[in-house]
Symmetry: C2
């Protein structure tokens, strides 16, 4: 039996932060990544629509024979993880639970902030997962709708990003949070901006890193690829140009072999 790949997907380029971490921890694994660029973003769309899109993308990856599905998108993880897990027999890993667990472990003062898309915040998924770890933790959430376009503009460390972060984070700072979950796969790009704004007293939790660790933990159940070369294949639903250009800048590396698919 040939070695099977790990399937990863997002609405667009955000999930590349997760892909990068998985690739760093598992350099031999073959990775298939789908960016649903014809329908991006998911963060402002309804749970029903995001669920439909996520199932279509996952069907494609499962059809490619992947051994595990990584939902590298917070919005899709928030609203579509259960339908995905019940539809497919392979393990399905989302980005919410790993980040929530890490935040619950880190927070000394039991006051956690969560930032994400409208869809993620509205779903309450982080609050549920954090409370599953410790029901005494107070969770304060804020959507940051400008962060995705700022990241894609290459402005995550621009002074406009600092101003937007000030607006969005003020209510969370007022609640004296000691931990902040970066609940969108684009947000790790704002680490420096957020760190400068919030100071040393607030710890940042990067879902991408935590999710990659969850993938490593799950790997023995589906079989590690002992002899692989770590090949990465990219699939997108719109023409590849913008994905290749913005995604490349996003990852800081050239993206090769991007194929357009129809879902």
């Amino acid at each position: 039996m040939p070695e099977r790949a790990i399937g990863i997907f997002d609405s667009g380029i955000g999930g590349l932060t997760v892909l990068k971490e998985i690739s760093r921890l598992l350099p031999r694994e073959e990775l298939f990544y789908v960016g649903d660029t014809a329908r991006v973003p998911y963060g402002t769309k309804s749970p029903e629509t995001v669920r439909r899109y996520a199932l279509e993308v996952a069907e494609f990856l499962v059809g490619q024979g992947v051994k595990m599905l990584v939902v590298a998108c917070n919005t899709a993880s928030a609203v579509a993880l259960e339908p995905l897990a019940s539809r497919f027999k392979i393990p399905v890993i989302g980005v919410i639970a790993p980040g929530a667990r890490r935040a619950a472990t880190l927070s000394r003062g039991r006051r956690i902030g969560v930032i994400g898309t409208e869809g993620t915040v509205k779903s309450g998924a982080y609050t549920r997962e954090i409370h599953a770890c410790n029901p005494d933790i107070k969770v304060f959430s804020a959507p940051c709708p400008l962060f995705v376009p700022l990241a894609e503009e290459g402005w995550a460390e621009h002074h406009i990003a600092t101003l937007a972060a000030k607006e969005y984070l003020a209510p969370l700072q007022a609640q004296n949070i000691d931990t902040l979950v970066l609940g969108c796969t684009h947000y790790p790009l704002f680490k420096n901006t957020l760190h400068a704004l919030l100071g040393e007293s607030v710890q940042l939790v990067d879902s991408a890193e935590e999710t990659a660790k969850a993938v490593v933990a799950q790997l023995p159940n589906v079989g590690a690829n002992g002899s692989g070369q770590g090949r990465v294949r990219f699939f997108v639903t719109d023409v590849p140009d913008r994905f290749t250009r913005v995604g490349g800048a996003f990852l800081g590396t050239r993206l090769e072999g991007v194929t357009q698919i129809e879902l």
Copy 2:
């Protein structure tokens, strides 16, 4: 034969600025508006994908018996107007030509700036239309990717909008433009911000107003509605919640009767 409606569409809520102007000039006409909210935005997607989406939306409106199609989206007008006009027998009016003609008439110094989405700017459609009026006019274009999310956040007059406008407009100011085309249906919301930044010497051209005038001019060819009550019906491809909320804030009025459709 019952009175037929005018069909208007956009990727989302932006086209409501066009609907508002048409409704103001033609208060008796029945208007059908489609916002393709399950696939919004169009501005960052490829011409091929935008064309496919625009044709699907137009098919729906034509199926509803509309007498005219208004493409109330600059990106779709830039890349899909010809396929739409050749597919359907009813008149198809886009937002590019009316704005371009107006700008060409207004510009004394023959130096016009155009701002829009990535898709609109990349298409070169405004430059072509302006040059069709007067090939001696110099056209300088700049995409403003943050403007749509800023408008939808309700921040079109926020100081962050002023800072973003400064970044985006600097290259056009350096070219001494005397006229600026607001080449995206969201951009009329930035009129105050842009006016404050650019001063009296730069005239702003609002495609929404110009397009509504083009609709009035075309009306005799398809028959005006003499006895109508100006009923407006809204159709969206995602669940209506966000459209109703953000679109209502955008138009400054409550949106009633929003129906979800599948394309």
